[in-house]
Symmetry: D2
Subunit: 343 residues, 4 copies
Amino acid sequence: MMTKYSFMDDYSEGCHARILEALAATNLEQQVAYGDDLYSLEAKGFIQEMVGDQNACVHFVAGGTLANLITISRALRPHDAVISAETGHIEMRETGAIEATGHKILTVPAKDGKLTPSLIQTVLDKNAHFPHMARPKMVYVSNATELGTLYTKQDLTAISALCRDKNLLLFVDGARLGAALSAQKNDLELSDIYELTDAFWIGGTKAGALIGEAIVVRNSDIAEDFAFCIKQRGALLAKGRLLGLQFRELFKDGLYFELTKKANRQAAQISEAVTSAGFELAAITETNQIFPILPDSLIEKLSERFQFYNWGAAEEGHSTLRLVTSWATEENQVEELIKQLKA
Amino acid sequence: MMTKYSFMDDYSEGCHARILEALAATNLEQQVAYGDDLYSLEAKGFIQEMVGDQNACVHFVAGGTLANLITISRALRPHDAVISAETGHIEMRETGAIEATGHKILTVPAKDGKLTPSLIQTVLDKNAHFPHMARPKMVYVSNATELGTLYTKQDLTAISALCRDKNLLLFVDGARLGAALSAQKNDLELSDIYELTDAFWIGGTKAGALIGEAIVVRNSDIAEDFAFCIKQRGALLAKGRLLGLQFRELFKDGLYFELTKKANRQAAQISEAVTSAGFELAAITETNQIFPILPDSLIEKLSERFQFYNWGAAEEGHSTLRLVTSWATEENQVEELIKQLKA
Amino acid sequence: MMTKYSFMDDYSEGCHARILEALAATNLEQQVAYGDDLYSLEAKGFIQEMVGDQNACVHFVAGGTLANLITISRALRPHDAVISAETGHIEMRETGAIEATGHKILTVPAKDGKLTPSLIQTVLDKNAHFPHMARPKMVYVSNATELGTLYTKQDLTAISALCRDKNLLLFVDGARLGAALSAQKNDLELSDIYELTDAFWIGGTKAGALIGEAIVVRNSDIAEDFAFCIKQRGALLAKGRLLGLQFRELFKDGLYFELTKKANRQAAQISEAVTSAGFELAAITETNQIFPILPDSLIEKLSERFQFYNWGAAEEGHSTLRLVTSWATEENQVEELIKQLKA
Amino acid sequence: MMTKYSFMDDYSEGCHARILEALAATNLEQQVAYGDDLYSLEAKGFIQEMVGDQNACVHFVAGGTLANLITISRALRPHDAVISAETGHIEMRETGAIEATGHKILTVPAKDGKLTPSLIQTVLDKNAHFPHMARPKMVYVSNATELGTLYTKQDLTAISALCRDKNLLLFVDGARLGAALSAQKNDLELSDIYELTDAFWIGGTKAGALIGEAIVVRNSDIAEDFAFCIKQRGALLAKGRLLGLQFRELFKDGLYFELTKKANRQAAQISEAVTSAGFELAAITETNQIFPILPDSLIEKLSERFQFYNWGAAEEGHSTLRLVTSWATEENQVEELIKQLKA
């Protein structure tokens, strides 16, 4: 147990109480193994309904790196590469997981961590020397991005149009998709993302589940035989019920978005406190991450009571912090933090 | 929910009640992510104590295929192959997961699914054409085997001696290690297995956990940097606490072996009922799997009430079934099954 | 230089004199790199003509293991496996090259090294447990086989029909395709093989070239982007002219089959000498490999003058040899060998 | 055959006449296959002598991408990455070959294509987030670089010292090592490179051979079992004699460096003509590549007679060309080119 209250990330606690209740309530029901249990079927149904396609291919896996490596290696042929922002999770935080499946990541610096059609075109232009360069074949974006920023419907539509024009696949990493879709500025729905992409995933781990991400595949070439790839990469749980049950609970009545909205709201409150106290933000607060630039003396004081990441020195005598709220963040801790910020 | 009572496998239910209680009790404690939580540290401590080495390298992953593919690909160099019985799980039930990491499996037919020094030597002899054949470098055995049979201390010691003599690594798949160590005929302890092997894993999924296997590595070359490989293959859970907590609960006071013994006892009861009713067994019952050869008429009757695998026709008018008991198998269902067998 | 005359293999000498002459004649002509030279284009044209498709996809690589690993990994998706006889070159003599690209080989014992529809069906039946087993997707056969035996047109047609029925790809390793097509019993032509398969290759190394194999792909899914895969696996030679020129020379006027026929004829002569001297053959002589069973005393005598493989003890006081003839085998050495056999 | 004289690259012709003569002279000598022929042994001896270690591990392969992918994948463990300049051949011109073996390339922009200790340190600092990032484990440099620039003894010594301090492996791509070591400014010898690195290779293809690169490994961990990896990646030629004979010829009396010096001299002559005619160079001419910036009218005139790469627009009305000389470049063509430059 941590001795100070943590705003370090959105996965420091267990899961929402309703998930624990559902686990307890169903614990001794016998279910078919390997994801063919009733809970998984129901959860798939809820997701199919949200994306507007009863036949959408939906699979549950335990974590985000699995979701990424399974989908990308399923979709690509040996000579295909995937395009990512330099800050992309597959490039920066997955220990070469994509390369370990045999594929190159082609990166490009991207403001706010967001790819654009022109950035993608730059990568295409630089990697066109047939057959001496891996073929750019897929575009990978995260929404929200690794920097907490958002893709608007216009952003994603433009990328999708380029992809279809250039015969590229489009894949969205949704580790924090809940936070994105619950943002004030968001104008995307799950059905839009389904329509605009070839595959994406909906993160559970950072939105109230114990573990679990839901991969949704629209492209039938990728969807075909997807279960083989899940099994081959070690992601097919004997007790798939554990994943299915959590997503059933999160999606049966909107709990999922209730939780991500709540985290965003708390982030907005903290963000507002920062600026109203006269401090600056290193990045606009769009989801559940706040990047305040604070005087080092205040940071020292805050750290007596709270845990958070210090992203390094900013202007003289100041540093940038990263604070993250979540489904589990306590209201009174937010209040206390705000009090200290304003003091 | 299944409509008949199932003896199909040992992963049809959730988890032991104590695990659910522990999850609830700790749910909102904030813990460090990625396996550095206190529960995981405690669970590792219990395992280190059982294997008799406070510095034993222990890691938790969600499932058995991950445990196998991570450990094997961590241990082998590109040109190395792993030796397995033809019935080995990595050969028969993992969708080419080992090959997907680049390594060949060299198989040999093995009575009762058990490798022996002479079978291993056969593989060495057949694969010695340098440099035209992949180099046999690791021996993979499962205990209990995929057929429910056991390795004795003498068996494993002989294999270990050959491995050390021939510079081979020895790796034990322990998906049902609990069942093995709880068997009446067993004379191995965890500390023996640790001593005799380079790495092995202890299965939680089939012994009362929701998910989870504990990989234990003695060989320091393999142990070094193991965490990188766990992360690279997508097996590092943000909420590693889920795995740690379950193993803490299973190992803190012997619950794990209590559960596996109970399943073995029920299997023995059913097995005895089969033979005392005058029927034969296709394989001796050593752990929690029973392979009765029953008249088809009786099978038809049993299947009105129970679910199980039919392994195919045996002598005229008979078939072989596979029945599996588990930590969750209900006593009254065992009694009812025995009653019908004896009727 | 060897001190005794060698019948060990068909790659102990350099290349046919005409290839050396062509190399010298064209040496200082400047040519476009990476296989786009005029000689490669001409050679492709000759092959396209022989297979009866002007648009056939043809690529040259330096060796057989490259031809196999490039084509197989190009054709398969991550979860796909390739079916081979237990004696297949990819299984027995390529150091896990196919597995190193991520794919499982599913093997089956095969009389004379030849697959049949029923053997293939056996593999399909044994590997049907979705999604727990790699999906059988390609059939690999060698013609001539690793044991020197042949596929007839009827054999290959039956396999091809099964493959198309079961949605399997068919791939022929042609390391000794010249020997096969030049055999007395052969009734296949290159155009048949093209028609019946998805891809195959024509071996140059064992038929008079210095190095080089010609991969021919009929299946357009595999043919697409094939050049990327050749480059990615390190097989795209800067001076692709070296490969193209040799195949141009071998195929422009039938030299290739002249050479393979000559080797087969010499093998037939030796084989006849063996039997007419009263000795037995371990396998019928169909191509350029002879497997005589000789008295050890005779073997000792032969080995004073000749080199060959001793395949091990046969009946009492006898052993089985493997003798190989080639485009370069000297007539007087064949005569001397025959003389000693008959003595 | 090209219609204009080509300065496009150093692999447009066949090979030096002495190699053709040696091929003819030895053609029908029977030799042991797979690189154990006498010519390969002799060639290895010459190289071992030059690097000053009679036990140096030397292997021959057909091309540079094979040399790179075999050595890098042999040396690295699954979670290891290789550091390269952004312009490195493995990053820019090998179609993801390194990633196809499972390893990430960590790149850094590098002036003149040259890595330095501080650039390498930058990569180490950026990739230190254990275990979420692939571990930087090897440094890859090309000498001469892809831009024709050189590493001095001081440069390479500094990199080597950092590598040993940080437990990194150092690997030199020597596709144009001959050009580098023959440069006027060069102060490195083969024995220095051997001493300072863990492995490197000596390019034959661009220095008068038909095909072939010689991999030299000093690090015994990498050298061990190297032959398996050569075979597994498809690079073990049945007629290894073809590679060995060429290197024997190139190294038995200094032909290799004679040829690379001659190409460098021609490049210097052209370079001097460029500057004495009043034109600028985009990069200093250190080896056999010249990058003149010429008026477009002059370029148009030159292109009536010569072929070369146009690297794109420079200052107004000018473009940058790449001209390459080689062992085969004709003196009279150089003279004609110089005449046109000066006209």
